[in-house]
Symmetry: C2
Subunit: 358 residues, 2 copies
């Protein structure tokens, strides 16, 4: 049985979006591809408020998260770690043979501007990484406040995983002064996985040119060079890019403000529903994600059983990630979902919860 996905990625992809992938194939060195690429980049630039570099990488977001490190960590990286993915990023950077310190923050809490300032003040670092919206914990960190602090450290590359926030939350790349922000399209974009979208500042490109051993596949300079021809260094996942082009048209038709408001409304409703059902939220107040809600288990709910029962009804739900598996569960509210989809899952869970609570 096919299941409707309420997990936080890969998320539900609408049938019309899936269908957009079936346009006839083209060669990536044909003018047809350059036209497609230019169209997509133009729309992404509109979304991200930038005329600067926006690139498409045929990889998951972690490919570019590793690539960003190979390009931009030349001294030492400060990795702010408040969840599974930000922790893993630190590990991946070390596995590249690069120097990185992990600055641990309690899961459920955001990265704060104060901590960033205090950490970078040591002068040890030439790069920092953080996850804007921790998919493991449902925590959204205050990017604007952190960006203010980052302006005091122009020598530190500001590298942000916006994997599960980009396109659902307004991100103004230029105002925030980010050197690199990275997303995978299987989250808020509502697309099949296999493609990462990322930005790079001019400063980042210049710095990347000095990075030794950065290789080719994720070389930022190569991305910049190929961008001049509206192209990519390696053969891109053209069918997924067709679907991205289609999906961006849907975003524009909805209107950016409407899109962001819809995500906020679904998030509010999910938080209110969780409380109504007697649950607490895992993320600290004021730092709660608009794309997924992480709910604390109340210790009397068998989440594995809840997931199983929901699955039998044709719904895929999550029962927590990493070290908070079964201690939490997450409900995704992003992509093409509307309040109607949220009411659908609330109704199902209200029916099933009494069966799995002791």
């Amino acid at each position: 049985m096919d299941k409707k996905l309420y997990i936080p990625g890969p998320i539900y992809v609408a049938p019309d979006t899936l269908q957009a992938m079936t346009r006839p194939m083209i060669g990536h060195r044909m003018p047809e591809y350059a036209t497609l690429h230019e169209s997509v980049i133009g729309k992404l630039r509109q979304m991200l408020h930038t005329e600067g570099y926006v690139f498409l990488s045929t990889s998951s977001a972690f490919g570019i998260m590793e690539g960003a490190a190979r390009n931009l960590v030349q001294k030492k990286c400060a990795c702010f770690a408040n969840g599974a993915f930000s922790n893993k990023w630190h590990n991946v950077i070390e596995r590249c043979g690069l120097k990185a310190d992990k600055i641990s923050i309690a899961w459920g809490s955001p990265v704060t501007a104060e901590l960033v300032e205090k950490t970078l003040a040591s002068g040890e670092y030439d790069a920092m990484t953080m996850v804007h919206n921790e998919t493991s914990t449902g925590v959204l960190s205050p990017l604007a406040e952190i960006a203010e602090v980052m302006k005091k450290f122009p020598e530190v590359s500001f590298i942000v995983d916006t994997v599960s926030s980009m396109s659902a939350v307004d991100i103004d790349v230029e105002t925030l002064g980010m050197d690199c922000c990275i997303a995978g399209v299987q989250k808020a974009f509502g697309l099949p996985p296999g493609l990462a979208v990322f930005t790079a500042s001019k400063r980042a490109i210049e710095k990347a040119k000095r990075a030794e051993g950065r290789g080719y596949y994720f070389d930022f300079e190569e991305f910049a060079k190929n961008a001049e021809k509206h192209n990519t260094p390696s053969t891109p996942c053209i069918s997924t890019i067709y679907a991205l082009d289609y999906q961006l048209d849907k975003f524009i038709a909805e209107g950016w403000e409407n899109r962001y408001a819809r995500h906020a409304e679904m998030a509010d409703a999910t938080r209110a529903w969780a409380k109504k059902m007697g649950f607490d939220l895992f993320a600290a107040e004021g730092a709660r994600s608009n794309t997924l809600t992480c709910i604390k288990n109340d210790d009397k709910t068998d989440l594995a059983q809840l997931k199983k029962l929901a699955g039998e009804r044709g719904y895929a739900i999550d029962n927590g990630y990493g070290k908070i598996k079964n201690e939490t569960f997450r409900i995704a509210h992003m992509g093409d979902f509307t309040m109607q989809d949220m009411e659908e899952i609330f109704a199902l869970l209200e029916e099933l919860l009494p069966q799995v609570r002791n």
Copy 2:
């Protein structure tokens, strides 16, 4: 106007194969994905005559070509270079900060067992790279003969780009003793780009564990660990994997021997047609690819104009790659193409050639 692709990749993708991508999305940590993954790997193992590791990488083949170097080049690599892609591979390995010598061979000529033996006899190398089927020149190198020689050098990782040969030519990974062979699915597999298929020997996995700075995204050890759960280290391009599963079923229904024979027949017909039209072949006799034919320009044909006219008729053809652009042109005969498709392009070119020959 949509164009039918006769370029050597991305190639024509059949409508039913495109449609196979539209199955509803699943999560890559759901059992549904493990089932899909196991199904695909089982069929690939059948094709490659191995019970060993076959992995799926969400990247173009060049991602894994770089990854293979980061995992397996720990001393110095001998890069046999007889075309644009084998030359580029050497460059990419150097850009990873690894040591590599380029052993240059005239474009149009194959890599020979003699040259491999002579080169490796120096004892300087712990890895070698070669391209089985050079897409830039239409040259197929004698893999079986080279594999015999490689058995004398068990300490040298045997890394082969089979990007445009895998699935069109029988490749017996175990008998050949390859440590790593790599393909992109937008060539002979007849799929949209965005996914690489590769093998790794047990010896390669053990060696990879000792590679410093190999990172995460292309870490062979991570692929091996995740394979135990029928999974991938990072979020895979699930829709393309759906299509791969579908396409492999088509291959099996056709029968492997029939599939290989069909490619050989199309190749023979294309070579004969080129000669009939007064052209010479670029690849040396006995080293001609079964998936694409590289034809020498006769100096009286305006290939750019030929490409333009064919484009106006709804056909995408190639006018050479890299340093032999316009000195050669290539006709692809792979994937789902049959003799009927070849006759279609021959007829078109026979009509157009008189208009572009001086």
